[in-house]
Structures are given as C-alpha cells and as structure tokens.
Amino acid sequence: MKKKIRILIAKPGLDGHDRGAKFIARALRDAGMEVIYTGIRQTPESIADTAIQEDVDFVGLSLLSGAHNVLFPKVVEELREKGAEDIVVFGGGVIPEDDIPFLKKKGVQAVFTPGTSIKDVVDFINKKMNEKN
C-alpha cells in the first residue's frame, strides 16, 4: 500500500484569520492527504507535540498577524529539540518578501505568499516526499 501523506495545518499565535488555513486543509484533503487541523491560537510547543504524536510528514503554518519571524522559527526549534527535525515545516500568510530568506535560514523550507496556487503547495509536498524516500 502506498504511504499516505500526513500533514498538520496549524495556526500559531493569536491570529484568528483561518480562511487560508481551512482552505489549504480542505484542498489537501481533496488531494488525497490526511490533514490534521487543530484550530487557532496554538503555541509552537503544542504544534510540535501534535506533529510528533500524529507522525506527520509536514507541518504547514499559517499566520497573518506579522508574528511569523518569531513564531515560525520557534516551531522548527521545538521540533528539533524533540528530535523530529525530519518533519518538513512550511508557512504561508501575509509575509513580506524580505522576511523569506530569514525564515528559510531558520529552517522553514518554503513560504507561500498570498495568491499562491494550491497546485504549487501540492507540488512542493510531493517533491519533498520523494526526497524523503
């Protein structure tokens, strides 16, 4: 049986705008993936714990409040501390182009800005999945 892709879509911080996160969750479900969605206001620590307990391959973070430079790297760090650095972290939301190199340096493997097609996200996931195997 082909391995199912499992992915956690999470909203760190206090931002309540979940339209994008929910769209991605549904679209990835429709692309045949198993998507765990934990709602708004998650701490980086609980995101990492959830990712590990759920044995996901990916964590997708969505944030529109501007706190991404603090919160995204924290999720990567938490995962690393818990020995789960193989879980791929990517992010999306209102993220200025300027911040992307910083986020990548901190271990966020892709950043999707507004207007990204879902196809690009799916392609990214599949590519990373192939690299893993």
Binding site: M1, K2, K3, K4, R6, A25, R26, L28, R29, D30, A31, G32, M33, E34, V35, I36, Y37, T38, G39, Q42, E45, S46, D49, T50, I52, Q53, E54, D55, K82, G83, A84
Partner: protein
Amino acid sequence: MKKISEISEKIIQGDIRAIARGISLVENGGEEGEELLKNLYVEGRSYILGITGPPGAGKSSLINLLIDKFKEHFNKVAVLAIDPSSPFTGGAILGDRIRMQTHTGDPNVYIRSMASRGHLGGIAGATKDAIKVVSAGGYDLVIVETVGVGQSEIDVVKLADTTVLVLVPGLGDEIQAMKSGIMEIGDLFVINKSDKPESEKLATTVRWIVDEHYKDSEYKPPIIPTSVYKNEGIGDAVRDIIKHKEYIYRTGIHTNKIKLRIKDDINSLLERKLNDFIQKHIKYPEKIEKWVEQVYRGESTPFEIIKSIHENLIIDVKEEI
C-alpha cells in the same frame, strides 16, 4: 529509526516518536507493519474503552474531560480518534483532536487521529493493530473514538472491553436507537448535553429500552447524564466505567473477549496469508479476465475453472504459509 527492530525496542521503552511511527507503519500495512506487530504482539494488556455515538454528540469533548479523571485509575492514557476518509480522494480531515488539545503537552497522554481509510464499521482497519502498538508502549488505558456514523458502529464492540454509547437529544436518536438495535452495543449509555431540557425524555426512553433488553441479565447498563459544557456527570461516568471493568474482569467476560480477539487475529492473519498465497500462485490478477471471457463465451464454467486450478497446484504449502 530505519530498522523495525529498533523501532520496536523504542516503542517498548515508551518513546512517543517511535509509537507514532509504529502506528503509521501498521496503518500503511505491508511487510514493515507486519514485522513490527510480530515483534510487539500483545493482547489483553491494556484496558480498552470504546466511545461511540452519532456525530455532534460531543464524543471528543467528553473524552477530553474523562482523561483528567482517568488519571486517578491509569498511568498512561492513549486516545485513538477515528475520522472518515473521503471515498473519492482517500484524503481526510482529522479534527477531533482539537477538543483534546489541552492534553497535548502531557507526557502521559498520547492522542492520535486516524483516518478510516475505506474501512466501514466506524473504526479504521488498522485500529486493532494501533491498539497493540500503544499497548506495547505501556499505555494501560486505550480510548477508541469511532467515526460516529449511525448504524455501522458495531466493530468497536469487538475490540473494546467496555463500550460507551453517547447520545444527545435532538438528533433523532430515540427512533434510531430502537430501530437499529444499537442498544446492544452499549455497556454504558451517556446522555450528553443534560443541560438541554429534552435530555430527560431521551434518558427515560433509553432506560425503558435497556430495562426491557437486559431484564434477565445480571449486568444492567447504567444511563448517565452528563454535560460537557458545564463539566457535570463526568465523575459518574468514570465511576460506572470502572465498575463495568471490574464486572467483566470478575465474571470472566474479559477473558472471553480476549480469546475472541486472539481468534480474530489468527483468522485474519491466516486469511491474509492465504490471500497472498492465492495471488502469488494462481496469478489471479492476470488470469481473472481470461476466465471471465471463457465462461462468457460458454467455453467453460466457474466450476471447471476452479477444478483446473486445483489440478495445477502442486507446491509445498509448508514453505509458503
């Protein structure tokens, strides 16, 4: 964590990552999953609680509150929450966990969402294997939350020691319950949302059906009103669950359940092996279309085809199974 033996060892040590990975392996099936189960096989070590009931009954929220109370009775609690897979894409959104997210940082609570992956019966096909993984990992209480789609909830009874049926007023349960014989699957009945006025009526109806059904039985399933919203009745539910546990342990019902499950394990393993065997030696996938064609054209019959398969099978079965 590449090697299965290594994962097995870590699971036994209670390593969360390994347990999580182990569940994925048994979910995905195949040789690795089988290898893992071979290393870990346990049955009857953990107490298994099934929570079933229609969608919207508040199962996840109830479990969230139960966990706190169960900590007085058990060392480690695992929750396997099943959600349906899409029959079209095979994908799934697993959202039960959010109701239990307060327990996420607790080292003694493990929560895992599972997609049903096409399995009917309200649980995932790999649920019983996943139970073995957490059981081997030292979780002495395993809670299984079913999909909750109406009448196909029977499977959970087989793999749980105690099954709780959660009902709420306003979902048409009264009629549902009587029609489908769903009453037979509950060892306990929780009437959730007891803050709603109609809940008393539902409780009375359920009481009536249960009394009728269990009139000659030593054990009479209790009916427990709870309100997740007000955090009421949770202690009562836990008390009665533990009572049921003691009852089945005392009367040997538990032993019978375990033996049935072991029998089931043997049967399904044998079935799978036979199936693999058929696939391999009869070359079924390549030949079936040809056979259909032959029968269709009147050149053969299904009986003749089976006969010819029999005659051509000359192999050492011992080597194969």
